[in-house]
């Protein structure tokens, strides 16, 4: 009975958000295009033969960057910006009355957006293969399944991190600048611009303890067939979720106690 209710809620939320997102197809297409930075990076890498020094062939590197593009496409999170706007405008108050954590709403929004984004990402990949026909490959089903899971886990980690920052809106009003701060290490350390294997030793020694390489580098390596520790990576992802989730719950309950609706 209860699970049935939850199912129905989730299903309805998803349906509503999906039709909402379909309204903004052009926007989402533009979002997809704005994620093509990995391809420019690939161009620098191969055009200057930089990959020779890290022992990755051209083909594997181009697959890596394509996968990095895909993982990024399906793990983009912007919950803090939505939440900040809603909380500044006072839209959070009606959400709080509903018997549903407002973050479910944002979560459904993200999932729906990913579904809408999928065809655009495929089109971009199609163009990528036209320009780089030698890098076409078909990952086996097991790997594909695992990398979808790890991409989803990466999305969850980022969603939780941003939700924690979003909850800071209860205290500071403008939490998005903290998010921009956190985005910098995500950008440079996650492997979006350069694979983590190419990092110098003094960074590699500690980077695997942080959540960043598990956001893009690990799923992208997994999907593209580059060398990676599958069980280690997945368990680190789960570990970070287990660390972040209680933190989020704690900060959420503290924050809602602190919250004062508009005009009070």
């Amino acid at each position: 009975m209860i699970s049935n209710l939850i199912n129905r809620k989730i299903f309805t939320l998803l349906k509503v958000q999906y039709s909402n997102m379909l309204e903004y197809r052009v926007e989402i297409a533009l979002w997809a295009i704005s994620g093509i930075i990995p391809f420019f990076m690939l161009n620098i890498w191969t055009n200057n033969n930089l990959n020779e020094s890290i022992n990755i062939s051209n083909v594997l590197l181009s697959r890596y960057f394509l996968c990095a593009f895909f993982v990024r496409q399906f793990s983009v999170v912007w919950v803090v910006f939505s939440f900040e706007e809603d909380s500044l405008m006072g839209k959070i108050s009606p959400y709080l009355i509903q018997p549903l954590n407002p973050f479910f709403r944002y979560f459904a929004q993200h999932l729906a957006e990913q579904i809408t984004r999928f065809p655009f990402a495929l089109i971009i990949a199609f163009f990528f293969f036209i320009f780089n026909p030698e890098s076409i490959w078909i990952p086996n089903l097991g790997i594909l399944f695992l990398s979808i899971i790890s991409t989803f886990l990466s999305f969850l980690i980022q969603f939780l991190m941003q939700s924690i920052i979003a909850c800071l809106c209860f205290w500071t009003e403008k939490a998005s600048s903290i998010e921009r701060l956190l985005f910098i290490p995500t950008l440079f350390l996650s492997g979006l611009l350069a694979p983590v294997v190419s990092f110098p030793e003094y960074v590699k020694s500690w980077i695997y303890l942080t959540p960043f390489p598990y956001l893009i580098d690990f799923p992208a390596n997994l999907l593209s067939g580059n060398e990676t520790n599958i069980s280690g990576g997945l368990s680190m992802q789960v570990l970070w979720i287990l660390i972040l989730f209680p933190l989020f719950k704690k900060i959420w309950s503290e924050g809602t106690k602190k919250y004062t609706a508009m005009g009070s």
């Binding site: 926007e27 620098i44 200057n48 921009r180 350069a194």
Partner: protein
Amino acid sequence: MNLKKYIKVYKKFLHTSLASELEYKTNILIDLITAILSLIGSIFLLSIFFQNNGYIGGWKFEQALIIQGIYTILNGITNTWFNPNLTEIVKHIREGTLDFVLLKPIDSQFFISLKKITPSGFLEIMLGFCLLMYCIKINQINLTLTFLTLCLVTIICSICILYSLWFFISTTTIWFVKTWNATEVLRSFLYIGRFPLNSFSFSLRIFFSVFIPIAFITTIPSEVFLGISQLWKILLEVIVALIFLLTSRKFWLYALKFYSSASS
């Protein structure tokens, strides 16, 4: 055209937007840390590229740092003026408040482009200047008057091109209403400006000098800094900057004809 009036109005703009921005003092501090980290991150990325190679696209590491410095300055200018103002156009058009702007006895482009200011961008500009000073020292560049004027001219031209690009994209809002994401696409393309143009493959080089003249924005000023730029390149940049400024102005006036305020 009475310049005095415009200067007076601009002083008022500065006063009001500074007053409102200084309300969020911690934000400015966080933005400063973000700017520093972002600079460290991009130098880190550059150092990965140069790890085992002496040259990238014919540029040494010390020379490529100049591009980073100029990019940082331009990015600071974007964050101070272009980003806060031109993303506002989207809001003006969606909510129909552009009417109020058009009714004012002042040039609408002036009002829209300079109304707001984000002081935290100044810090980025200063960071960029510090990096440039350092580069002048390590590259042993002699400072002469002609050199300084040429640098100033090219950088001003870069700013003009950058402004026109932003303004161009924001103007398209009049037809598409929500082009907030288009500026995001521009942002991701501008990211290329951190690297020397020669490090890309031929086709991308053509794309970035003809369609989106990002090449002009950072590479030519850096070449001027190193004293390796030919005169025709500088002249070309001046011409491109003028063309961009004029067309963006014309485009704005043309677009305004299609503006049918809210609810009409």
